[in-house]
Each structure stands twice: as structure tokens, then as C-alpha cells.
């Protein structure tokens, strides 16, 4: 036997006296009945059930507005977004989830202007750390409250956040 068990034997205090013994037995049995009463209470009180039946409660399911589900780029009704293509999000991302591909638009007055061609977002790499959102100077990207991300093909998780043919809003620099 190791020294551990020797120490154990010393620390064991045996109860003395018949009264103490019966009291101990009584308390032991009582503790069992206390537990049985508690589980019996829950057995008979079905109102305490807190289960939410997931696919059935899709309509009533309310996710908090801050829930970090996926990065999206909101567009207004004219198919315009706020992204300037500054790549701050790309630099802030710890695991290369975001890739900004820029192009040069020719403005009506003949100047070249930098704009995004594609903002590629790899959902399969994203850890929802929210760093890109805080880094964005023009609030072009936000977190969406979606959470059902499973797809049959991994390539579907690579998303392009700006809509096709979208433009930058007026007045965003």
C-alpha cells in the first residue's frame, strides 16, 4: 500500500456510541429520500421542462441582435454597399478568412478610383471573432444572425459578399 492510504486511515474518524451510529444511519436514509423527493417533484411537474424543440421553433426562435453568425455586407435598395476596399478587415482577420480583390473604376470625370471587385469570405475558416467588424472604418460589413451553415459541398462556404454589379454608396471615402 502506498503512503496515501495510510494518511487516509488516520483521517477517518469512526463514530462512537450506538446512538451516534443509529443517527448516522437515519441521516443516510434521510439523504436518500431528500433526493428522491426532488426527482419525484420534477417527475410530476412537467411545467418545469425547458426543452425547446429546435426545428419546430424556427419561427419563434429569437437570436440576440449581437449574435455572431456570419459576416455579411448589407446593400441598400439601389444595390449599393459601403465598402471602400481599404483591406482593414483583411489585415484584422487572424486566419485569412477575408480576401479583398480590388479593381479601378473610371469615374465620370475620367479619374481612376479604387473599388472592390470581390470581397471573398471563407465561412469555413471564420471563427466569428468579430475583429473585422470592429476594424472596418466605414461599417460596410456586419454580423448576421444566421446559424444554420451546413451545406453538402465545402465550396459553397466560400462566399462573395458584394452583390454582382453593386457599387459603393455616394459619399463614402
Amino acid at each position: 500500500m502506498s503512503n496515501t492510504s495510510k494518511k487516509l486511515n488516520n483521517s477517518t474518524v469512526s463514530p462512537s456510541g450506538l446512538g451516534a451510529y443509529f443517527k448516522e444511519v437515519f441521516n443516510a436514509v434521510k439523504s436518500l429520500f431528500v433526493g428522491l423527493r426532488r426527482t419525484g417533484y420534477y417527475f410530476t411537474h412537467h411545467k418545469e421542462i425547458i426543452t425547446q424543440q429546435y426545428p419546430d421553433n424556427r419561427e419563434t426562435l429569437n437570436l440576440p441582435e449581437r449574435f455572431k453568425g456570419e459576416v455579411v455586407m448589407p446593400h441598400n435598395e439601389n444595390n449599393e454597399h459601403r465598402c471602400t476596399g481599404c483591406t482593414a478587415c483583411e489585415l484584422a482577420c487572424p486566419n485569412g478568412t477575408i480576401k479583398v480583390i480590388t479593381k479601378f473604376d473610371i469615374t465620370p470625370d475620367g479619374k481612376k478610383k479604387k473599388a472592390i471587385d470581390k470581397l471573398v469570405y471563407h465561412l469555413e475558416l471564420c471563427t466569428m471573432c468579430n475583429l473585422c467588424i470592429t476594424a472596418c472604418p466605414s461599417d460596410a460589413i456586419v454580423m448576421a444572425q444566421t446559424f444554420e451553415h451546413s451545406v453538402f459541398d465545402r465550396s459553397q462556404l466560400t462566399k462573395i459578399l458584394n452583390n454582382p454589379g453593386s457599387k459603393i454608396m455616394e459619399g463614402i471615402e
Binding site: 496515501t4 441521516n27 439523504s31 431528500v34 449574435f67 484584422a92
Partner: protein, 384 residues
């Protein structure tokens, strides 16, 4: 190493070459896939009948080289990775890293951020202890408490989800304060949780703490003396169950811990039951801290003004916090760049696990599972 488990026959004269015990020993692999190891911990147990002769933990099944990963990430980026170490106290891990970076930058963070950080830390601690309580009950064979514990834990997770946007890996503490201000509902929800908790904590005692079978399973097993706790480097509730005062919140206060009154829970038993009681009482202390702070969140900024690119001066920085499992230390070596030169995490689970062999020798197989439960092991924290 992976010699599958034959009974070593009587005619082998010397201990087998692998050092796996003597004749008549039974060697069992508990894990990496086992219902009681709470993850991918692999224990090679040498048994004599039901009695344990030796426990040998084999690690590395969930090693993700987090320390090395952090070296390639900037000081803002690396914090999120630490949520994945001890995922049950993700906030507190983030807190340790944020503190270390702030120490390097010599940044004074706003008072409001400090209070909210402490509040969330304590909520995390309660959530972690509640999960531990359910899992420990499951380890000793009672299945019901697990679900009851999750009911209360879910309330905390909802609070976290509302304020931080995530339930488990929040990444809410950033160098300089908080990522966002607390949600307007935060105080109300926390108060609701406190009243729910006070109602339900009695049930914990009814179901498990007072139960005679549970007490017999816990008392006088897995003895760890204070000296051994020191020599194995144990910390947190594991060491405090052996009568060792080691609460970082008391000894090296950070944030506002020195301004609030709470007790450091110390039990002198040294056995599994003492460790159990430390954690149960710690939940009550955490509630006490939350009650003191929840109505006194000061107005002000939630984040200090910081530069966009953080650069730590050349040097070595160390900070430590008390997680739900013990002392978490973060050591950063900086060469003055935007990324750390070297990062080392001193995780509580690793040192606590090292005491398992000492504690388990001579006790029964069933007790080993209970002891592992009272150590509150989180395997990704041990492996990193």
C-alpha cells in the same frame, strides 16, 4: 507504448521492457475515447484487480500548437485563440492575455471596463463550475444532475450571447477594454439569474451534496496534502481543497478584485470531497461578487484609446489570473514588433493532472474516475 492490454503472465520474471508493471498486473487504456475522460485524455492504468497501482497520462491528442500559432498573430488577433484553450472559462483566458498586453503597453483601462470584466469573469466561473458539477455527478453514476446543471448554465450562456454575441468562445475582452459596451438588458438579466440561482442551488445539495452514496464516494479518497499540492504545482480549487491559499484574485489582485469583499474558499480535507466543497462554495462567493458589482457599474468608456497597430516594447511581460481551474499565466516575450516573439501559457489543468497519479495510487478504479472529476480537467487546456 500501445501494447494492447494483455494480462502480463506470471512466468515473466522481470518487469516488462516498457516499464509496464509486474506479473499479474492488468493494464487498461482509459481513453482517448472513453465516457469519463471528458475529451481525448489517454490514461494508461496499471491495475491489480480493482486497485490502481499506477496511472500514466498520455497527452497530445488535441495539441493544436496554440503557443506557436500566437507567435504569428498580432496582439489584437491572438486573444481569440486562447478561448479555445480552456473553453469553459474562455472569458478568463482572454482576460489574462488582455492584461498582459495592457501591461506591456502600460495602458490604463476605464473603470467601467474593469468592472464588466470582473462581472463576466465571475459569471464564467459559475457557468464552468456548474458544468463541472453535472459532469462530476455523471462520473459517479448519477445522470440527472447534469441536466439540472445545464438549466442554470444555459441562463448564463444566454446572458453571454446577448452581450458578447457568442455562447462559448466570446472574444469580448480586447487590449484596452471591451469590444463593445454591455447590452442594455445585461443588468436585468444578471439579476434574474441571481434569483434563479439562489432558488436552485438548494437542489444541488438535495440531489448530490447531501447524498450519502455520493459522500461515501468522495470522502477519504484521492488525498492530496498541501505539500504535495505545492510540489506538483497545483492551483485553483484543487490546491485550495488541500488547505493551500493560492487564489490569485486575493494574492495578486487585478482589475477591481482588491476593492470588493469576498472570501477565499479553503478546505483542509485534501480529499475529493474537499475539492468538491471548494467549488460549490466558490459559486456562492462568485454570486457575492456579482451582487456587489451589478448595481455599481460606473458610467464611462468601455474601451481605452489605443493605436490601430499595437506594438509592445522590447521585453518580457507576465500576467496571471484565476480561472475556474486555477492559475493561468501568460508570458510574452516581445522584440518590439507587432507580433510576440514567444508566448507561453501556464495552464492550470496540466499541473493539476500531474498530481493524479499520486492521488490515485492504492484506490479503486471507480475512485479514479471520481478524482478526475474533482480535478475538473479540460483537455484542450492541458494540451493547448
Amino acid at each position: 507504448m500501445y501494447r494492447q492490454t494483455e494480462i502480463i503472465s506470471d512466468d515473466s520474471e522481470s518487469p516488462s521492457p516498457g516499464g509496464f508493471g509486474e506479473a499479474g498486473d492488468l493494464i487498461i487504456n482509459v481513453g482517448p475515447q472513453h465516457p469519463a475522460t471528458h475529451g481525448v485524455l489517454h490514461l494508461v492504468i496499471t491495475l491489480n484487480g480493482e486497485t490502481i497501482k499506477k496511472v500514466e497520462p498520455h497527452l497530445g491528442y488535441i495539441h493544436r500548437s496554440i503557443e506557436k500559432m500566437c507567435e504569428s498573430l498580432t496582439y489584437r488577433q491572438f486573444i481569440y485563440v486562447t478561448s479555445r484553450m480552456d473553453y469553459l472559462s474562455a472569458h478568463i483566458n482572454n482576460h489574462a492575455c488582455a492584461l498582459c498586453v495592457e501591461k506591456g503597453l502600460q495602458l490604463e483601462i476605464p473603470h467601467r471596463a474593469q468592472v464588466v470584466r470582473v462581472l463576466l469573469d465571475e459569471l464564467t466561473r459559475i457557468a464552468s463550475h456548474e458544468l463541472w458539477w453535472g459532469a462530476l455527478a455523471m462520473d459517479v453514476g448519477a445522470f440527472t444532475p447534469f441536466f439540472h446543471a445545464f438549466r442554470e448554465r444555459e441562463t448564463i450562456n444566454d446572458i453571454m450571447e446577448e452581450t458578447c454575441g457568442a455562447r462559448l468562445t466570446m472574444n469580448y475582452f480586447v487590449p484596452g477594454g471591451l469590444m463593445a459596451d454591455i447590452h442594455p438588458n445585461f443588468q436585468k438579466r444578471v439579476k434574474e439569474f441571481i434569483s434563479l440561482y439562489k432558488l436552485k442551488i438548494k437542489e444541488y445539495d438535495e440531489l448530490i451534496t447531501g447524498n450519502i452514496i455520493f459522500q461515501n464516494r468522495m470522502k477519504n479518497v484521492g488525498y492530496l496534502s498541501a505539500e504535495d499540492a505545492i510540489s506538483y504545482g497545483c492551483s485553483g480549487p484543487t490546491a485550495r481543497g488541500s488547505g493551500l491559499s493560492c487564489d490569485i484574485r486575493k494574492l495578486y489582485p487585478y482589475e477591481v478584485y482588491d476593492k470588493i469583499s469576498f472570501n477565499e474558499v479553503i478546505e483542509n480535507g485534501g480529499d475529493s470531497f474537499a475539492r468538491y466543497m471548494v467549488r460549490i462554495k466558490e459559486m456562492n462567493e462568485s454570486i457575492k461578487i456579482i451582487e456587489q458589482l451589478i448595481d455599481n457599474i460606473p458610467e464611462g468608456d468601455f474601451q481605452a484609446k489605443t493605436k490601430v497597430v499595437l506594438k509592445l516594447p522590447k521585453g518580457e511581460f507576465y500576467s496571471r489570473v484565476e480561472t475556474a481551474r486555477g492559475e493561468l499565466g501568460v508570458f510574452i516575450v516581445s522584440e518590439g514588433g507587432t507580433t510576440p516573439y514567444r508566448i507561453k501559457f501556464r495552464s492550470p489543468g496540466f499541473s493539476n493532472l500531474s498530481a493524479l497519479d499520486h492521488m490515485a495510487r492504492g484506490s479503486k478504479l471507480g475512485d479514479l474516475i471520481a478524482m478526475m472529476g474533482t480535478l475538473d480537467l479540460v483537455i484542450p487546456d492541458i494540451d493547448r
